[in-house]
Symmetry: C2
Subunit: 316 residues, 2 copies
């Protein structure tokens, strides 16, 4: 039983707003097969359309790798997710509300299926295998078009029924006036691009271009970039004060700026904090595959051998 489980392959599906990635992953973590498809968007049956693609991909893997039948699967999706019940509560981009992914996928695939949030699952992979593996109180922040985050406290992922980690919608001071706005509207790569283009009256530049212009002496670009850093640091200061965050892992497109982002972020956060300890701020290590690796980890946790082992970290 233990050997059988140890030799089992699992199916991992990472459903993004644009791409759907799928992998058949063996016990050693080798990805035997990797597929990337455009994520199906079907306004009438948004959840079922995803499962159609999942089922087709599972059949392809079964035909291509008959010696490695999958023993479990995991699907991770964006939006608000209840991983305990397997329900996709809400996705603004993909359109479902309260769709029972876990239950329906298990019926279609005939396998035990784990279900989770894409960023939380990628963050758990960073926590187990990547940049955050030496820490117990971690915020993993994925900064791209929007901002998503996962919170790990005292070594355990905080789920709160899918409502934890909505850092993109946390309040920050509004750099364009009195009052406040949300982090995603100032600190995301999307916001940097939009705010610069709007104020400069130029066609849309990417966040990377705004940073290049700031480095080259463009005062407006420098201000937009500083606003983003201020907002990110403000939200991280809240994490430190509320949950004692000791390590921050930054992923997503904006993290490609590397120290051009992380160094000013450290300085600004240091200014905002008082007696609190300063979290270590570092870049994500696992890159674009973190979600898929995390999904494989969650699928494997469903198998008997993994269940018997302690510290899988995908649940309590």
């Amino acid at each position: 039983m233990v050997l059988g489980a140890a030799e089992s392959a699992v199916l991992a599906f990472d459903v993004g707003g644009t791409d759907l990635k799928a992998g058949l992953v063996d016990t050693a973590g080798n990805v035997l097969g990797l597929r990337r498809r455009a994520t199906p968007h079907d306004p009438l049956r948004p959840g079922e359309a995803i499962l159609d693609a999942v089922e087709a991909l599972a059949s392809e893997f079964a035909a291509e790798f008959p010696a490695h039948p999958a023993k479990a699967a995991c699907i991770v999706v964006p939006g608000i997710v209840d991983s305990d019940t397997g329900v996709g509560i809400y996705s603004a981009n993909l359109g479902w509300r309260n769709f029972p992914f876990g239950e329906k996928a298990a019926q279609r695939l005939g396998l035990p299926v784990s279900f989770g949030h894409d960023v939380s699952t990628a963050a758990e992979a960073e926590f187990r295998f990547g940049a955050a593996r030496d820490f117990r109180n971690v915020v993993v922040m994925v900064v791209g078009t929007g901002i998503a985050a996962a919170v790990i406290s005292d070594g355990y992922p905080v789920r709160a029924g899918g409502f934890a980690g909505e850092l993109g919608h946390a309040l920050v001071p509004d750099p364009d006036g009195p009052g406040h706005t949300i982090l995603e509207a100032v600190g995301s790569a999307g916001a940097i691009a939009r705010r610069y283009s709007d104020k400069a009256g130029t066609p849309r530049a990417g966040a990377r271009e705004v940073l290049e212009r700031a480095t080259a002496g463009d005062a407006l670009a420098a201000r937009i970039w500083a606003d983003a850093v201020d907002a990110l640091a403000f939200s991280l200061s809240q994490c430190v004060s509320i949950i004692g965050t000791e390590a921050v892992v930054v992923g997503g497109g904006l993290a490609e700026a590397g120290e051009g982002l992380l160094q000013p972020l450290r300085s600004r956060l240091d200014e905002l904090l008082d007696f609190q300890r300063r979290p270590i701020i570092m870049r994500a290590q696992l890159g674009q595959d973190a979600g898929l690796l995390g999904a494989a980890m969650r699928a494997r946790a469903l198998l008997p051998a993994a269940k018997a082992a302690s510290g899988t970290g995908t649940g309590r």
Copy 2:
């Protein structure tokens, strides 16, 4: 063994900035003896002075209740606390730094000793027995002269080595100008009294008096009260976005305003949140004894029968 443990009394010590409360508590939760002393302040040996008082009180209980020998003890203190190692890391009011309370108290008392944070421990009592017992994602906020908080996520207290729950030092918009200040400087009972007196040019009024004046039509008092509510709601909105808080328990002196505080706090928080779920906001139930009850709960968790039982909730 189980019966012996079940019949055991425990010692509970709640060390506050002003008072030190001590109780001998039997298995049924009855407080056999209750003492209240002025908290000793000794700038040269601040930690040892506390333990002198603890040891003297333990001797008094032993002499008075010879049929109920204590089998374990718990000391809870303010400041930054590492409950895992039993170290009082820092107390601004009482003066210690890195004092090993747990180890030294165990030597002096000859008993197993648990050590914890006063507000966290009171919050755990509210979570186990009081207002928050039906919820798994809770913030317990004690609003008095200052503001302290405890965080419970997915049913477990978040400790982060003593650095969680520093809500009083979380950033909030500064009502007196651009930029930001900390929650404690606007939202605490102490801040309400100080800000009103400073602006009105009157002798110091208490927070209760400021609320009375606001209710009677004093515009300045109403503004100061609204500023406090705004700041508290802002910090709670951060908790909701970061850790998906579903219930907020408000204790401390300011909670005595009851619905005069809670109703505007609910309205303001509702305005600040977007798609996030609204936490239930309620008043603490256990009152001034929550810390002592929580300490007794923690002490009892050290006993063999309690250790064998699941779900004591005082550790993982």
